[in-house]
Amino acid sequence: MTEVAEPRVPLLAVERLTMRFGGLIAVDDLSFTAYRGEVTAIIGPNGAGKTTVFNCLTGFYRPSAGQLAMHHDGETLQLERIAGFRIARRAGIARTFQNIRLFAGMTVLENLIVAQHNPLMAASLFSIAGLLGLPRYRAAEREAIERARHWLNRTGLTDRADWLAGALPYGAQRRLEIARALCTGPALLCLDEPAAGLNPRESAELNELLLAIRAEKGIGILLIEHDMSVVMGISDHVIVLDYGRKIADGTAAEVRADPEVIKAYLGEEELNSLPKEVAADLEAPQT
């Protein structure tokens, strides 16, 4: 799936990440690496701790133990030591949410401009140049609009740029959330179930979009997904979680054949009671 010629450049190294909530261990001693220009998928049954990993990465939770090293702009940043809201800018990590979190009362374009808050804020000299309407700020704003237009074109939302984000159909809202994350100019894009609620045609389009983004920007994509057509179709590397522990790590094909994974998804007894061929067939669409 990947061109073997180029050496893999690690982007994010998760070392022995543990997250406890009281007595519950949501993520247990998890280590993995995501590489630049690769799609890394995290899969697992519901409640396996996938979203918790994302929340640790993006600063919403402070990990109980472990290290999250992000290689960005030639330096290595320990994410667990950076304040949550700074991670987007300093470490170049952008994310989407399982239950869509758009600025519903603002237009599609405004959503994409808000995502470029930090460069625009600097250009407006903390609002002073902006209040005076200096050309320096106007140029920055025009640039931000062009960047937004680029992602609108890529996600097919240009015609609806001035709609309220909340008025978009579901599939378009999912794409807008991805476009908004991309407007921050990330090095690593974290997508939490981007295909949830999409019909098969829409998820096929999503696959194309993600592959195109990877090809164009060379960024890493970290993906939580239940839709196996997405996971198997575009992932270079799949990590399987169950009860917070990593039970498999490898290419899509390797993971698919792993008995541990099949056990986690289907349960041991059911698996044994099924003929072998049926079990193998069931495994792919099961979510």
Partner: protein, 322 residues
């Protein structure tokens, strides 16, 4: 609005009151309408602005124009002071704390008698001058008064009309400032914060600075309005800054349509003039007023003007050869 201010003194006075509420409404609109932080103690900043001028005038002899920027600054710092402890609160909880803050300020003003004069308030606050020309029948030695300078007959209405234009100018500046800042990154961050704080953090917006700046700017306008109130009345006491004032200002913002600048104007005119027209009904006034408010909430729950103008639109495709 009496744009022919020579109509009658009563109308000009009423217009001035309306404009004070318009300005307060616009100030609160930044906090409630844009940033979505429900503030039930906004009158505290109005009081802080008024007392800042009152104290600067009685202790240090400041004039209105000298004290105006200080009133705004002190009120803005109080906005930040209120903002810090309530950063983590939202909705109802935030409303209760801000309500308490408003009461704390009023009770401090009432009880800290050596400084604030307690329930007696502060009197003898100087009136504004017209570029150094006072509005007075006769001036002390060496000072020219407004009517002497322009060679017109003295009339007490001159000051009232001047006050009207001062608050009109202040309100217009407030409006221009708000319209402009709404189109800047800070303004959009406020609105984004109102829509979804978690998404804001994921996009690298610092919610702390966004909230504090909204509180500070809203409070600053409240402080300016308070300074004007003090110079207009010439006397201030804690009685003018009760919770009912906060409720009225919030009602203006909600009634007008959250975030809508014109809505605030319309609602301020309605809320200030309706009780005036109701004078004939005397004791039924509040009843009619309440019924009118319920009517509006039933038929226009979004406020009188609920339309939101986008801060920017996607322009036509630039000519490119790609």
């Amino acid at each position: 609005m009496p744009f022919l201010p020579f109509s009658s003194r009563y109308l000009v006075d009423l217009g001035t009151t309306v404009l004070i509420y318009v300005m307060l409404g616009w100030g609160l609109n930044v906090v409630v309408g844009l940033a979505g932080l429900l503030d039930l103690g906004y009158v505290a900043f109005y009081a802080v602005g008024a007392y800042t001028f009152g104290l600067l005038a009685s202790d240090l002899g400041f004039t209105f124009w000298e004290a105006l920027p200080f009133s705004g600054l002190v009120a803005a710092s109080f906005g930040v002071i209120l903002g810090f402890p309530v950063l983590r609160l939202r909705g109802d909880y935030l409303a209760i704390v801000t309500l308490g803050f408003g009461e704390i300020i009023r009770i401090v003003l009432l009880n800290w008698a050596p400084v604030t004069g307690g329930p007696n308030g502060i009197g003898g606050i100087p009136r504004p001058s017209f570029f150094g020309l006072p509005f007075a029948r006769s001036a002390p030695e060496g000072v020219t008064t407004f009517h002497q300078f322009f060679g017109v007959e003295f009339s007490p209405d001159q000051r009232v009309i001047f006050l009207y234009f001062v608050i009109l100018a202040m309100a217009l500046v407030t409006n221009l400032f708000t319209l402009r800042i709404r189109r800047l990154p800070v303004g959009r961050a406020w609105e984004a914060l109102r829509e979804d704080e978690i998404a804001c953090r994921a996009l690298g917006i610092n919610p702390t600075t966004a909230k504090l700046s909204a509180f500070a700017i809203g409070a600053m306008f409240g402080g300016f309005a308070g300074c004007f109130f003090a110079t207009r009345q010439g006397f201030i006491s804690p009685e003018s800054f009760t919770f009912i004032e906060s409720a009225t200002i919030l009602a203006i913002v909600v009634l007008g349509g959250m975030g809508s600048q014109m809505g605030v104007v319309l609602a301020a005119i309605l809320l200030v003039t309706l009780p005036e027209f109701g004078r004939a009904f005397a004791e039924f006034r509040m009843l009619i007023f309440g019924a009118a408010m319920i009517g509006v909430m039933v038929w226009r729950p979004q406020g009188l003007i609920a339309h939101r103008e986008p801060t920017l639109r996607l322009g036509p495709q630039p000519v490119s050869t790609r």
